[in-house]
């Protein structure tokens, strides 16, 4: 039985590798290299999906041992339920993104497409391998490969200044984050044993403080990659910089590898810890969710906006995981498993709708060559199908029933409430409800944000020639997006099916009594009810006959045009003003009286928000480091006598110090 899986796995790997290498050989013809780069990815993704589902549903894990590849490093493939889940998610998204790329990358025929597909396939390959290896060193190798490949993907359009900046920030922050990950692993292993099994075995014998140290390192390290506040700074600049199909994969699943790492290290390897671990994760989640969505609401760059929403959703996922960790520390395995499963469910859902949205944004960019939503508008007439797909994504990410975003957030709500109802202490009871309120705030802000995003970019009149000249994206791109949209609805209608299989995954991480399957939730009936009512009303609406008459929008007597429409900036202004204590908006209004002394001829209005974290945390740090280094350089001042003096003094000091 396992032999088949091995074969499948190796076929998938070979497909990815061929997708990486073949285009380099056929780099002469771009279309050829594009096809060679994308199609194997689709096939391999399908295989990976099958493997992952198998590993997720089949009770005993698939173990493949490949022997010692490096001194003391034994490479083993371990597809247990957790790994299977993540492998399935990654492969599914990657496959669809590859399909989409066939159409999308045609935009870049001038660029080096072979290089793109090399990096892209390597990226997906390392992502898939990161979640299924069972040795920390190999994990780190593929983790870093993933970072490196995505770095080169982010800097694909390196001719733009901000893309270079974004890429640099990305690689620096993730690399520094990796330091913490490595520390976490090695503090845990404390020696030459690098296998996850050894780590798990050793974690029992560790002292509480050491465990907390490992926890902190893991949280910082993986948190950097996942983009939790305040370590999220690279995310909103790096994701938009990449081509949209890549951003879809990065935002959809690459962040999830960090979530995988957290679960693996913190919950699986470390086991139950003190309750404050979970509390901290929960708090981090809340902060990330609210800050992320607030900044998203201020963005007018469609992809930056989506990137900030990734920060938000990672926060929501962490809320679920945090609740699970708290239950775990209270040794309540059943609610713990449910909470973790809720988090995983949101992982899946976010992967689906976020990549759907990014691909939609990519189609918009493909059609209009702009990402600034102030220049868009009226696209629902130009590209109707893309509009529908994007709307589905928008509704799902705003957690609106009956779509999947609502389904997973519902489960997280339940877990947080369970936190309060456990009645362990007044503090936690209050905390649970407050966390729910925070989640509600996040949901409302997200809804506001996507009303803005969809309404401004797809509805009303085109605000620029670019938008006016748009046309529907090529079919292959729409085909790539459609399954995601379908999944958004399907997972929203029958969440209990997914939840039950995810409960199996969670039960593997949080061992306990085997759980009763969740009862069928109400979503389906609710959806049916809605559908019936709306259909009935639709019938009723047309009862007395007569169609809707079309006329110009009423503009108080004058003919309205695009310049009178509500812009994204003006849409978000009330929120900007209400939440100014976080956003710190600065507005400058300058009036130009050049024409007439009393009547202003032209007004210039500008309101920009300040990134508090960058200005007060990162900038000082960077400047301090540079200044210190400049100071330090003076020891190499070019004077040979001084140099000889160094040697001399060193010798004398050592001689004195010997005893």
């Amino acid at each position: 039985m396992a032999g088949l899986q091995e074969k499948l796995l190796f076929i998938a790997l070979i497909l990815y590798l061929s997708g990486a290498v073949l285009p380099l050989m056929f780099r002469r013809s771009t279309s050829m290299s594009l096809l060679l780069g994308c199609c194997p990815g689709v096939a391999a993704g399908a295989l990976g999906l099958a493997l992952g589902l198998w590993g997720m549903l089949y009770p005993d894990p698939l173990v493949i041992n490949l022997g010692y590849i490096l001194p003391g490093v034994e490479l083993g493939i371990l597809i247990d339920r957790l790994a299977g889940f993540f492998l399935a998610t990654i492969s599914m998204i990657a496959a669809l993104a590859s399909l989409y790329s066939i159409g999308y990358m045609k935009m870049y025929v001038k660029e080096n497409l072979a290089w793109w597909s090399f990096c892209y396939n390597l990226f997906v390959l390392s992502m898939s391998l990161v979640v299924i290896v069972n040795n920390t060193v190999v994990f780190l190798i593929f983790w870093e490969l993933m970072t490196l490949a995505s770095y080169f993907l982010v800097t694909f359009e390196y001719r733009h200044q901000q893309v270079r900046k974004a890429g640099f920030g990305y690689i620096v922050m993730t690399h520094l984050g990796t330091v913490f990950i490595i520390s976490a692993f090695f503090i845990l292993s404390g020696g030459g044993d690098w296998g996850f099994a050894d780590l798990a075995a050793r974690s029992e014998s560790l002292s509480a403080t050491t465990k907390s140290l490992v926890f902190a390192c893991a949280l910082i390290g993986f948190g950097t990659k996942a983009g939790v506040v305040p370590l999220h700074l690279w995310l909103p600049s790096a994701h938009p910089a990449a081509p949209s199909n890549v951003s879809a994969v990065m935002s959809g699943v690459m962040l999830k590898t960090a979530i995988y790492g957290m679960i693996r290290v913190i919950i699986d390897l470390l086991g139950p810890g003190p309750a404050w671990w979970g509390g901290l994760v929960l708090a981090v989640g809340i902060v990330s969710a609210i800050v992320g969505v607030l900044y998203a609401l201020m963005e007018h760059d469609l992809k930056r906006l989506l990137a900030f929403h990734s920060v938000e959703n990672i926060g929501i996922i962490l809320m679920g995981l945090g609740a699970g960790m708290i239950f775990y520390s209270w040794s309540m395995p059943v609610p713990a498993a449910i909470a973790v499963a809720a988090g995983l469910f949101h992982v899946l859902n976010h992967a689906i709708f976020k990549s759907l949205l990014f691909l939609g944004a990519g189609s918009v960019y493909y059609a209009t060559r702009t990402r600034d939503i102030e220049e868009l508008g009226g696209l629902i007439h130009k590209m109707p199908q893309t509009a529908v797909l994007f709307l589905v994504g928008a509704v799902s990410i705003s957690a609106i029933p009956p779509f999947n975003g609502f389904a997973s957030e519902y489960q997280i709500y339940q877990s947080l409430l369970a936190l309060s109802l456990a009645k362990v202490s007044g503090f936690w009871s209050a905390a649970g409800v407050l966390a729910c309120a925070a989640l509600a705030l996040t949901g409302a802000l997200a809804a506001a944000c996507f009303v803005k995003a969809f309404g401004v970019s797809f509805l009303a009149r085109p605000r620029s020639q670019k938008a006016a000249g748009a046309s529907e994206a090529p079919p292959v791109m729409r085909i790539g997006m459609a399954p995601l949209a379908v999944l958004c609805l399907a997972l929203g209608l029958i969440p209990q099916v997914v939840m039950n299989s995810l409960l199996g995954v969670a039960a593997q991480i949080v061992p306990g009594p085997d759980l009763p399957p969740l009862p069928g939730a109400f979503n389906l009936s609710l959806a049916l009810l809605l559908a019936v009512i709306i259909a009935a009303l639709a019938g009723l609406a047309n009862l007395p006959g007569g169609r809707a008459r079309r006329t110009e929008t009423w503009g108080c007597g004058i003919v309205t045009d695009a310049s009178m429409e509500y812009t994204a900036a003006s849409f978000s202004q009330p929120v900007r003003r209400v939440y100014r204590f976080i956003l710190q908006p600065k507005r400058e209004v300058s009036t130009d009286y050049s024409l007439l002394p009393y009547f202003n001829y032209r007004m210039h209005f500008e309101e920009r928000i300040k990134s508090v974290i960058r200005d007060f945390l990162y900038k000082p740090l960077r400047e301090f480091t540079i200044a210190l280094s400049k100071k330090w350089r003076c020891i190499q001042c070019g004077n040979i006598n001084l140099y000889l003096g160094y040697i001399f003094v060193t010798l004398i000091i050592l001689l004195v110090w010997v005893r």
């Binding site: 009936s525 809605l530 609406a541 110009e552």
Partner: protein, 299 residues
């Protein structure tokens, strides 16, 4: 099964028919408190019928979203209403407190889109304000409702019946009343009777609507108000059990009307607030709900 479906339909019909009446009562009471004669109690029915007769006129900018929105709004509020077990609890589960809250979000989402679609400045303004207010209202609403969940122990509305009938409940009641005022777009948050662009929120989004669709949207607004009041009644003013359906309905109607009168009174004694003073009002509501939560979680 059939009985269940019938009862669901019955409850919907009840809500649909009840909503204009409650609105009319509130209007009348308001007028009387302001020493006006005011329209008749049944005026809202006449309005709706009038609107439903007319064919819609829509802007050329609009797409299917504008046509769909009224139906979605009405449907969402109906579904929300049918979640509340007005009489003895039924077999089919359409959702719980969370679903209830998010159905409102569904309606709001589409209303916002519809406001933006015609491309007139009013609609956009209304949409943006509505969304901002929602970000203030929803947390408070969740805080208040889930404070009650702490006592009831479940988010199921059947279990929650009368969960607020305790001292802590009084606090959350005040908080939720403020939420209701904001949600129903009444003074001091919004003024349902104005068409002055500086103060419009809800009406601004409806500005481009006409005829049948406008009727639906007005109806939806009344329904929303009724559903919220009914929820408050269900939570804070428990029904005596074991009474026939008709009596239960009568009681509900009475209680809802009473609450509506309360709303009318508050509305006529208060003055409209500036938009950016709302956070303070909501903070007040949040404070009450928070107190309720704390007292519940300490006990």
């Amino acid at each position: 099964m059939t009985v269940n479906i019938l009862s669901v339909l019955g409850q919907m019909a009840f809500l649909l028919l009840m909503a204009p009446l409650v609105n009319g009562v509130i209007k009348k009471a308001k007028a009387l408190t302001q020493c006006r004669r005011g329209p008749g109690i049944l005026q809202s029915y006449f309005d709706i019928v009038k609107f439903l007769r007319r064919d819609p006129v829509v802007s050329v900018q609009t797409s299917w979203i504008t046509l769909l929105t009224p139906l979605v709004c009405l449907g969402a509020y109906l579904a929300a209403g049918s979640i509340i077990p007005l009489w003895d609890h039924r077999g089919i589960v359409f959702g719980d407190l969370i679903a209830f809250t998010y159905l409102f979000a569904l309606a709001r989402f589409f209303l916002g889109l519809a406001g933006l679609e015609p491309g007139s400045a009013f609609g956009g303004m209304g949409a943006s304000r509505e969304m901002m207010i929602a970000t203030l209202v929803e947390p408070v609403m969740v805080l208040g409702l889930f404070g009650l969940v702490l006592t009831a122990g479940s988010t199921d509305l059947g279990a929650l019946a009368g969960a607020g009938w305790n001292p802590a409940g009084a606090l959350s009641f005040i908080g939720l009343m403020i939420v209701t005022v904001a949600e129903t777009g009444r003074i001091p948050v919004d003024n349902p009777d104005t068409h002055l662009e500086l103060t419009m929120v809800h009406e601004a989004m409806l500005l481009e609507y006409a005829g049948r669709q406008l009727g639906f949207l007005h109806w939806a607004a009344m329904l929303k108000q009724l559903v919220l009041l009914a929820l408050l009644v269900h939570l804070f003013w428990p029904q005596p059990t074991g009474i026939p359906v008709a009596a239960a309905l009568g009681l509900i109607a009475a209680k809802v009307t009473a609450l509506g009168l309360g709303l009318a009174l508050t509305e006529s004694v208060l003055a409209k607030m500036r938009l950016f003073r709302l956070p303070e009002l909501m903070a007040g509501g949040a404070a009450f709900c928070l107190l309720a939560v704390l007292s519940n979680s300490i006990m």
